[in-house]
Symmetry: C2
């Protein structure tokens, strides 16, 4: 592929000098238009070492309003980042509506550096590029413009530049032996990089390879392309297209609320007898996860008053509080609303060895947001697939997920609502909204059943928890968690 690009092309520097300032002014204006129209933009600059990534990034940011962008210089991961899956550190950096996120190096460099070592790199490459395609497609489907550039120079040019930098006392100390090792393996990496680019050069997020021998031309080409792409979107000549299709994941079993046996109970005596033992075992499980650096997500969904809060308290009662976090999920705030809807969950994903319990979760997209019309039909229909991909990515990099649906029937909910209203210590738990949601029971029920059908995957399955009897429900979530961790370790 790279052979298509002429690295010695004749550059008409005079014309560039004349036109570039005007293009930059236009870029500035387009960036403000993106802000006003709420269009998020991702620009990533990749390339060989010494290909000019830094100076091209610098040229872009000088042309736009500092109020409107974040520049992320991507290098080796921090301790915190290492403790998460690779794409996580980028998920939490995706731009809010109307903002630019500029990546000087990106998930591509990091995939190459962190995931494609060892003998089975070809296999890994397939998995990695598939995860990257999914990630970028989710962004584009949500209305983000994704522009990707690869700065291409020859091995000889790279050598020339590295020697030049080494001779400069200011920058010489920054060229390491590792950089030289990488240089010597230029020919080895070339086909790998070609393959990555080919596999991720999608209609929704295409690559532009930039002949970067002449730095002036490189900056000119990148900035011109960005300007053109923005112009098309802002002027409405092109609208970001939806690219998803709901891929049929392998479903583990058919779950249905109809088949839940709500008569299941446990005596108070049995409950008291077993609770403490189960809690001790959950604590053990937590220490083992910590020791083996496995992150665990526990999702709680269920009807209002199904007992999620109390259930979580029992599950965590004996856990070391330093190792778990309960994330109660309610309406997104303004900042969260201006991001991809999964963004606010990524920021709470557990790092290696830690546990995050979500009290309600991303499934709100296909439940409350669907039923109440807080998102479009296109958005919630797309969400099943997006959620499956997100969970699969988390699991395939070594994480674990347990998902509970706490099921009660309408009579039980009514009894609990009434009790909350009469008990002064519990009144704060009940709101008008709870009563309103109750009226839409059947609509919600349909949504739950569809969610169970479409997101109960082999890698991340649902557990239906019979919760008319709270004691029974608590023991079941404890037991399920203990068993699940056992399968992980």
């Amino acid at each position: 592929m790279f052979e298509r690009y002429n690295l010695d092309l004749n550059v008409d520097e005079k014309t560039i000098d004349k036109t570039l300032p005007g293009i930059k002014v236009q870029l500035g204006a387009l960036q403000r238009a993106c802000r006003d129209n709420g269009i998020p933009v991702v620009i990533l600059i990749e390339g060989w070492n010494a290909s000019g990534i830094t100076s091209v990034s610098g040229e872009i940011v000088q042309a736009i309003d500092p109020r409107g962008y974040n520049l992320y210089s991507i290098g080796a991961p921090t301790d915190e980042e290492k403790a998460h899956h690779l794409i996580w550190r980028f998920c939490i950096k995706t731009p809010a509506k109307g903002r630019f996120a500029i990546f000087a190096r990106s998930w591509y460099s990091r995939t190459l550096a962190e995931q494609l070592s060892g003998l089975n790199w070809k296999e890994q490459l397939k998995e990695s590029t598939s995860a990257i395609r999914n990630f970028e497609r989710q962004l584009v489907d949500d209305g983000t413009l994704v522009l990707k550039f690869f700065l291409h120079i020859s091995k000889e040019e790279q050598r020339r530049r590295m020697i030049e930098r080494e001779r400069d006392t200011l920058t010489g100390w920054m060229i390491t032996k590792g950089d030289w090792d990488f240089h010597h393996q230029y020919d080895l990496y070339l086909p790998v990089i070609e393959q990555i680019i080919e596999e991720t050069d999608t209609p929704f997020s295409p690559w532009t390879v930039v002949e970067a021998t002449n730095p002036l031309y490189a900056g000119f080409k990148v900035i011109s392309r960005i300007t053109k792409a923005l112009d098309k979107i802002v002027s409405g000549k092109e609208s970001p297209s939806k690219n998803y299709r709901n891929i049929s994941h392998k479903y583990k079993k058919r779950l249905d609320l109809d088949n839940v046996d709500l008569t299941k109970t446990v005596t108070k005596q049995d409950y008291s007898g077993q609770l403490r033992e189960y809690q001790d075992r959950v604590r053990e499980a937590q220490y083992l996860l910590y020791k083996r650096k496995v992150p665990l997500i526990i999702v709680y969904e269920g009807w209002d008053a199904a007992g999620k809060g109390g259930n979580i308290l029992r599950l965590t009662a004996s856990m070391n509080p330093r190792g778990y976090e309960v994330v109660p999920v309610s309406r997104p705030n303004d900042n969260e609303l201006s991001h991809h809807y999964l963004w606010r969950f990524y920021t709470h994903f557990p790092k290696a060895g830690h546990i995050t319990l979500f009290d309600r979760s991303w499934y709100g997209r296909v439940l409350v947001e669907r039923v109440e019309g807080f998102c479009s039909e296109d958005e919630w229909k797309r969400a099943y697939n997006e959620i499956n991909e997100m969970e699969q990515n988390f699991v395939s990099e070594g994480g674990g997920i347990v998902k509970f649906w706490l099921e009660i029937d309408q009579d039980e909910q009514l009894a609990r609502f009434q009790q909350r209203e009469t008990d002064s210590r519990k009144q704060w738990k009940i709101t008008d909204e709870d009563w309103r949601n109750r009226e839409k029971w059947n609509e919600y029920r349909g949504a739950v059943n569809e969610m169970l059908a479409k997101t109960d995957t082999l890698h991340s399955s649902w557990t239906l928890v019979e919760s008319n009897d709270k004691f029974y429900a608590r023991l079941k979530t404890l037991q399920t968690t203990i068993d699940y961790v056992g399968t992980l370790l």
Copy 2:
């Protein structure tokens, strides 16, 4: 001091078992009241190793709504944290209005571990505890309730517990040689900890030493104290008092806008000749800061249309974009408003070797917020001292600060406003608000002069930049930055 506490006190476990559940319910209700009243609460649990910090923290969080708190488990700093001054990692974790921040270990443990080693620890202790007192006082002055607990056990008890933990296969691997070293030096640390506690046991943020031999009693005492303290605040029996007094810092010189010579100019030719050279030298300065791991803050303040944006563009034109960030400051968003007003700036403080340019800054507190009445008189009067303390803390831990006031006169501002209104490429820069602010020129002028008088300190001085001539102004900020970095290195 510690000898006052009876570690073998007789604990009436029966009474505690009977009363504790009720107190926890009360604590839950008080936490919701804090949420409704917007009261931020800091609870920190310190103590000897194995004194029960984790289990006490766990008891607290089990009693309150997970929606309302963050639990921070404080250990050795991450790479990111190491690259900042010690108090920074806590500044960015202070709670928003109505939220609890619970610290399992805190700035105290970290000060002991990171700052009090070496021969001059006594001197360092003075400086450290003074910084801590200032930090806590600023929180309390802003309406935060700060509750501090030290869990005290004897050396023998510690030994007993450590052996017990070592024997437990689940936890044994977590006890390190370092823990034992620390244990053997118990008697050495005792007077140091006593001194830290005495020096930071202030009226606004007092310590409670907890006899922690009996874990049941320790949890009971901590939770009772928290409940009592919250009750006093919530019921209005006690209102958080203001504790600041404006300390007279040593002022470097008397600055006054009257003495700025706005006729200073430079010819276009001289400007063009020098600009590139200065920019190269700033780039050099940036690399040296990076190499020596010195963080630098550059503050830009000045009249509307004084040329801040253009000036920053020239100052950063040759900088490596990976090493600097421009932070444009405008109205705080809801999340920022719900924190201490300095919080949103802390989150952008540069790490070692990096540069942050603030396009407007925390000085907004004593300028726009003062003049427009966005904060109370008490708040902006207090701010001079708070700002001085913040800057001093940053500098005393190795950082550098350059502060520019870009001065123009009213005629020049008018001319620039009019030009912006007629030039289609610049119209976006001018708003009605600019015209309104202009009407309050004299009020702003008074505020600027008071700011210059009260925050031009030895450790962080202001530079007045004559900016009627933009070229002159740009060269001056470049030159000043180059010179200042020279004094740092």
